[in-house]
């Protein structure tokens, strides 16, 4: 009998998928809350039409975060749709893990071609600016310095918004 050859099924990175799911949930809720409480983010997304759908996902069939513009705000919609106006895709779960945990900033990840964008690039730029503000609400400045090109100052007003997003926005979806 000769040696037998056959197909090998790929494994599953359960842990990293779980982490991505959790971060997407937190990010989605934070984004939703920020469109209510942060005037800068509110202003940025004001140009999006009602019903605008933004998706961040992991290829090929990984976790995703869906946000939809309803009543002038972004609403976190779990994994409701699989296509939208702006779809940002991580090429694989390792790329997503690096960005979401957050070891690498979005600009660097984009430059390194770790993500692809479907849709109008102008909307992608708007999203990037929102993400930069949002990261300031989620992480302390010393982490943000690693993630964004320039860390914006955090005046008292912004500190308050940060508090609201973290205390009621993320846990209760408000």
């Amino acid at each position: 009998m000769g040696k037998k050859y056959g197909p090998i099924k790929s494994g599953v990175k359960w842990f990293k998928i779980l982490v991505a799911k959790i971060v997407f949930f937190v990010l989605g809720r934070a984004f939703q809350s920020a469109t209510k409480h942060d005037p800068d983010i509110k202003k940025e997304i004001s140009v999006w039409r009602e019903g605008f759908v933004l998706i961040m996902r992991v290829l090929p069939n990984g976790p995703r975060m869906v946000l939809e513009k309803l009543n002038g705000r972004l609403k976190y919609r779990g994994a409701k749709y699989d296509d939208g106006d702006l779809v940002i895709s991580f090429k694989n779960i390792e790329c997503a893990f690096l960005v979401l945990t957050p070891q690498v900033g979005a600009a660097q990840a984009f430059a390194e071609r770790r993500m692809t964008v479907k849709g109008d690039l102008g909307n992608a730029m708007i999203f990037t600016r929102c993400l930069t503000i949002l990261l300031g609400h989620l992480y302390p400045q010393f982490i943000c310095r690693r993630l964004v090109k320039r860390v914006a100052p955090m005046p008292l007003k912004k500190q308050m918004i940060k508090l609201v997003i973290n205390v009621v926005g993320i846990p209760f979806g408000l």
Binding site: F110, A111, E112, T116, V117, K118, G119, L121, G122, A124
Partner: protein, 394 residues
């Protein structure tokens, strides 16, 4: 320093040199094509360049399916659809673009619509949206600037919405680029100057933007060296074959560099100014380049200092103290601008270019939504953009 990760891709076969064009029918045949459509514009026709292309077909037994010569400055989706119809009516099987960035990008759009067998170009906007294998596609540049003959990108105006759509896909690369000095000798001095400055902007931004890598660096510095030496010569004497050949090669190398490492704020501001005030792309590049280099300096000082060697030459590089080199590079870029102004009156400021001051705010708003800005090393918000525009105004 090596980047932690990068990708580099440049699959275009280059034919460069005297009479390179004569190989066009052979290369088409190699690609399995028999009836190419030629996509070009009125300026190229007027310069008599299509005659040169036609004569390359003589005795080849091939048929030119059609010659479309109505491409407007900057490409548009309407024109793309018209050309698709002409291609189909005439049973063409390949695309040959003859011209500057406008006909080249238009031809890329045509290739998208034909290959994806769709009538809606917009569906493919963005990065990596194309799937279908493309039609054989050959580019013969007649300007030395955009590098579009070796890039994966196309910028096409959506006529209905009056916005510029950007396309990027590894499938958009032409199969072959033919650099024949006969095709650029007819360029008038001011077009030579501004398209050459586009190439300089490509190489300098490629060398300093976020996705720079050792391969793109090599192309970028080689391009800068040629441009520094030959662009003034090509502007001064359009018939200087050596200068024309050098600039064609430089533009192609700069294209290969930036197609991989991308460009930044000089292009963001340039695209926005072009869209709103209709000034030629290369002119905008020439005006914004020194300001972009200056603005990013806190993040890129060491890189800009290195550029003094290809730009200023060895003697200059050795003469200037290490700490002064970045600033000196920018001084030389401004001197270069001045040389081109003296030679052919190439505008140095937005004011000289006829940009109305009351448009600056609108330009700034558009610029910060331009995709190229994500690759810029330094953050640039609305206020920053407005400041740079005001500085570049006069």
């Amino acid at each position: 320093m090596l980047p932690s990760y990068y990708e580099f891709f440049n699959p275009v076969k280059i034919l460069s040199g005297k009479n390179a064009l004569d190989n066009l029918p052979y290369e088409l045949e190699q690609l399995g094509a028999k009836r190419p459509i030629i996509v070009t514009d009125k300026g190229v026709i007027k310069a008599g360049l299509i005659q040169v292309v036609k004569s390359a077909f003589d005795s080849s037994g091939m048929v030119i399916g059609a010659i479309y010569d109505d491409v407007p400055p900057d490409s548009s989706s309407d024109v793309v659809n018209q050309i698709v119809a002409v291609y189909r009516e005439n049973g063409c099987d390949a695309i040959v673009a003859v011209g500057g960035g406008s006909p080249i990008d238009t031809a890329k759009g045509v290739n998208i619509v034909l290959s994806e067998n769709s009538d809606d170009l917009m569906k493919f906007e963005g990065a990596d949206r194309l799937k279908a294998p493309m039609k054989p596609f050959i580019v013969i540049p007649t300007t030395a600037g955009t590098g579009s003959e070796v890039t994966l990108a196309a910028v096409i105006k959506n006529t209905a919405k009056n916005v510029k759509m950007a396309f990027a896909s590894h499938l958009l690369f032409p199969k072959i680029a033919i650099l024949d000095p006969r095709m650029t000798t007819t360029m008038p001095p001011h077009i030579t100057a501004m398209t050459g400055m586009d190439a300089l902007a490509h190489s300098m931004e490629a060398y300093t933007c976020l996705q720079k890598n050792p391969l793109s660096d090599a192309y970028a510095t080689a391009a800068i060296k040629l441009i520094a030496q030959y662009l003034p010569k090509a502007v001064e004497n359009g018939k200087d074959m050596e200068a024309r050949m050098a600039m064609a090669n430089a533009a192609t190398m700069a294209g290969a560099a930036f197609s991989n490492s991308m460009v930044g704020m000089v292009h963001s501001l340039g695209h926005a100014t072009g869209a709103i005030c209709h000034i030629p792309h290369g002119l905008a590049m020439s005006i914004f380049l020194p300001f972009g280099l200056e603005y990013n300096l806190p993040k890129t000082e060491a890189m800009v200092a290195e550029l003094l060697l290809p730009l200023g030459g060895e003697a200059e590089y050795v003469k200037v103290a290490a700490g002064q080199r970045a600033a000196r590079t920018i001084v030389l870029v401004r001197k270069f601008q001045q040389t081109l102004f003296d030679l052919c009156g190439l505008p140095r400021t937005l004011k000289e270019a006829g940009v109305p001051k009351n448009k600056l705010e609108e330009i700034a708003k558009t610029a910060i939504n331009d995709g190229t800005l994500s690759f810029n090393p330094e953050e640039l918000d609305l206020n920053d953009a407005l400041n740079v525009l005001n500085e570049a105004y006069s």
